[in-house]
C-alpha cells in the first residue's frame, strides 16, 4: 500500500478530495456553508463564555475595566480569529501548491476609533477598529514571489477576514424573558 503523502501536517490527497467535494457535492457544500453557531452566556461581571459545537471559549475584560482579566477580551479574540483564519488559509494554499512551511506567525493589531462611544460618552463615531493590521512572517520552501501569492490567496479566501473587511449586516433580535 502506497504511503499517504502529508505536507504541513495535512494529508495532501485527503485535503484535495475535500476541496473537490465542496465543488462537486452539493450536500457537502451546504454543510460547510453553515449555519455556523455560537451561544454566548454571561458568567457575571464582564465575563462571558461562548459555546461552539463541542468547544467553549471564555472571554473577559482587562483589569483596568474592573474585570478579572481571566481570559482575552472579545475584541482581542476577533483579532485572533482573523489571524487564525489567515493561518488556515495560508496553510491550505501552500499545501495545494506543494510548499512546505517551516514556521508561520501572524501578528495582529488594531486601535479603536472612538472607544468613548462604548463608554457612553460620545453619541456617534465608530467604537470599533477602523483598520486591522496583519503581518505575516513565514519560513517556507519557496521563493518570495510564491509565498506572497499564497498570502494574497489566504487573504482573499479567508471567510473571517472578508467578514470583517466588508460591510456585514448584523441582524439582531431581542426578547425579554
Amino acid at each position: 500500500m502506497a504511503e499517504e503523502k502529508t505536507l504541513n501536517g495535512l494529508r495532501v490527497d485527503k485535503i484535495n478530495s475535500i476541496l473537490n467535494s465542496m465543488r462537486d457535492d452539493k450536500e457537502f457544500l451546504k454543510a460547510v456553508t453553515g449555519p455556523w453557531k455560537s451561544r454566548v452566556v454571561w458568567q457575571g461581571g464582564f465575563k462571558a463564555k461562548a459555546y461552539m459545537r463541542k468547544h467553549a471559549v471564555e472571554m473577559d475584560e482587562p483589569e483596568g475595566l474592573d474585570a478579572s482579566d481571566s481570559a482575552a477580551s472579545a475584541h482581542e479574540q476577533l483579532l485572533s480569529a482573523v489571524g487564525s483564519c489567515l493561518t488556515v488559509g495560508y496553510v491550505l494554499n501552500a499545501t495545494r501548491r506543494g510548499v512546505k512551511i517551516h514556521d508561520l506567525e501572524i501578528a495582529m493589531e488594531g486601535n479603536f476609533d472612538n472607544i468613548l462611544k462604548w463608554a457612553g460618552h460620545a453619541p456617534g463615531g465608530n467604537p470599533g477598529y477602523p483598520t486591522v493590521k496583519a503581518k505575516c512572517f513565514v519560513r517556507a520552501d519557496a521563493d518570495e514571489k510564491v509565498l506572497r501569492e499564497i498570502w494574497q490567496a489566504a487573504i482573499d479566501g479567508s471567510p473571517v477576514t472578508q467578514t470583517v473587511a466588508r460591510p456585514t449586516k448584523i441582524e439582531t433580535e431581542f426578547e425579554k424573558v
Partner: protein, 387 residues
C-alpha cells in the same frame, strides 16, 4: 598572544551565509541530512569565509561561524541536556507574555525566528563546543585565529527558563556552575590547540544597562531571567572571571554590542559604554571588543578614566549598512580613540558579525568583503604613521 603588527585587523566572528548553506542547515535541522553531510557542505562555506577574510587583509581570521545556526544556540548540538527552543515555543512559559509581545513588535521579529538553547536536563559536555570549528580553521589558514564562543553569562541567562530548567537546576546559579566548568575546559582546549584569540560573546550585558526592564526579554538572545542590574553585572563579572581564571597563553576578549538582528537602527539598543565600563574593566580579559561605529555607541570620552587598562577591539564598520566606510574616516576615528588607548592596544574590527543569525544575515558577502578591505586599508595607513 600578541600580534606583531600594530592595529591588527580582525572580525567579530560571523560571516554572511550563502543560500546553499542555509538550505543544508534547514535540511540538517529537519533530520533530512546527517551532521556529517552538513559538515561537508559547511566546510566549503568556511573555506570561502576564510578566503574572503584573507583576501581582504584580515590579520586574525575566524571560521565565519558558518556551522552555527546562530552565535550561541548552536551549543545545543554540542552539549547534552540542552533543547533548542523557538521563542514561539517558550511563550507558554513566559511570565509577562504581554510585555514580551511589546518587545517582539518593537523589534519587528517573529517569535519563531529566535531560538534559544534551554537547559532541560543536567548539561553535560560531549566533544567540545567549538573545537571542531577551531581545528578546521587552524588547518586552513596560516593567519592568527579567533574563535568566538558564547560567554558564561549569556549562556546561563539564556538557558535557564523557569518551568523548563528548574527540575535539573533549581536556580540559575546552579546552572552557572556547570556552564563555567564546561567553558573553562573549552577555553583550555582551544588554547592547547593553538587558537590565538578566544572571544566570549556577552551581548546580553548590554540589555542589563540599556534594555527594557522586562525580566524576560531579548537582546540578540532570548533571555530567560534577570534580577536588578547591579546584581546581574556582578554575576556576569564573576562568571567571566571564573571561566578564564589562571588560563594564560591565549588572548581573551569579551564582545559586547547593542544588537545585530535588524538593519533598523531604531530597534537596537543605544547609549555610551560609561555605565558598563566599571564592570567590563573588572573582567580578567585582555580586550573589550566593542561596537563603536555608529552614533548609538555614544561618546568615546567615557574611556578617559580607564586609559590603557585594556585593549580595545574597536568597531569601525557598521555590518548592517550597504555603505562602505571611508578609510580616512576610520583613521580619524582611531586617532580619536588614541587619546585613551596606545596604538599597540587598538585592534580594528567591524561592530559585530555579518551573520549573527544564519537566517537573518545583515549583509552580503560582497559588501562584507569590501568593508573588511577598507578596514585593512585604514590599518595600513595607520601603520605607516605609527610603526
Amino acid at each position: 598572544m600578541a600580534h606583531t603588527k600594530l592595529f591588527p585587523v580582525t572580525v567579530v566572528g560571523s560571516w554572511t551565509r550563502p543560500d546553499w548553506l542555509i538550505h543544508a542547515l534547514r535540511r540538517r535541522q529537519a533530520g533530512e541530512i546527517s551532521a556529517g553531510e552538513f559538515d561537508h557542505v559547511a566546510d566549503e562555506a568556511v573555506l570561502a569565509a576564510i578566503k574572503y577574510q584573507e583576501d581582504a587583509g584580515v590579520d586574525i581570521v575566524s571560521d565565519g561561524e558558518m556551522r552555527r545556526d546562530n552565535f550561541y544556540s548552536f551549543v545545543v548540538e554540542k552539549l547534552g541536556g540542552m533543547r533548542l527552543m523557538k521563542l514561539s515555543q517558550l511563550l507558554d512559559y513566559m511570565k509577562d507574555r504581554a510585555g514580551f509581545e511589546e518587545i517582539l513588535r518593537a523589534l519587528d521579529v517573529p517569535a519563531f525566528a529566535i531560538k534559544s538553547p534551554i537547559a532541560v536536563e543536567k548539561v553535560v559536555e560531549r566533544d567540545g563546543i567549538a573545537l571542531d570549528e577551531a581545528r578546521f580553521l587552524k588547518e586552513h589558514t596560516t593567519r592568527q585565529t579567533k574563535v568566538p564562543i558564547p560567554g558564561p553569562y549569556l549562556l546561563t541567562r539564556s538557558s535557564w527558563f523557569e518551568g523548563l530548567s528548574d527540575k535539573a537546576y533549581p536556580t540559575r546559579e546552579d546552572l552557572a556552575k556547570d556552564v563555567v566548568k564546561i567553558l573553562r575546559r573549552e577555553v583550555t582546549r582551544l588554547k592547547d590547540m593553538g587558537v590565538d584569540f578566544i572571544q566570549l560573546d556577552e551581548p546580553s550585558i548590554s540589555q542589563v544597562v540599556y534594555g527594557d526592564e522586562a525580566e524576560q526579554t531579548f537582546m540578540c538572545a532570548a533571555l530567560g531571567s534577570r534580577t536588578d542590574p547591579t546584581h546581574e553585572l556582578e554575576f556576569a563579572v564573576r562568571l567571566v572571571n571564573e571561566t578564564v581564571d589562571g588560563i594564560d597563553g591565549v588572548k581573551f576578549g569579551v564582545h559586547v554590542c547593542r544588537g545585530n538582528w535588524s538593519r533598523k537602527e531604531n530597534v537596537l539598543l543605544s547609549g555610551n559604554y560609561g555605565p558598563l565600563l566599571p564592570w567590563l574593566m573588572r573582567m580578567d580579559v585582555d580586550q573589550l571588543v566593542l561596537e563603536m561605529a555608529t552614533p548609538r555607541a555614544g561618546e568615546i570620552e567615557v574611556f578617559e578614566e580607564y586609559r590603557n587598562e585594556k585593549e580595545i577591539g574597536l568597531g569601525v564598520s557598521n555590518p548592517r549598512s550597504d555603505d562602505i566606510e571611508n578609510p580616512r574616516q576610520i583613521v580619524a576615528r582611531v586617532k580619536e580613540v588614541m587619546k585613551y588607548f596606545d596604538p599597540d592596544k587598538i585592534y580594528l574590527n567591524p561592530d559585530c558579525g555579518f551573520g549573527t543569525f544564519a537566517e537573518r544575515c545583515v549583509n552580503t558577502a560582497d559588501v562584507a568583503y569590501r568593508k573588511l578591505k577598507v578596514i585593512h586599508e585604514a590599518a595600513e595607513m595607520l601603520r605607516k604613521e605609527y610603526e
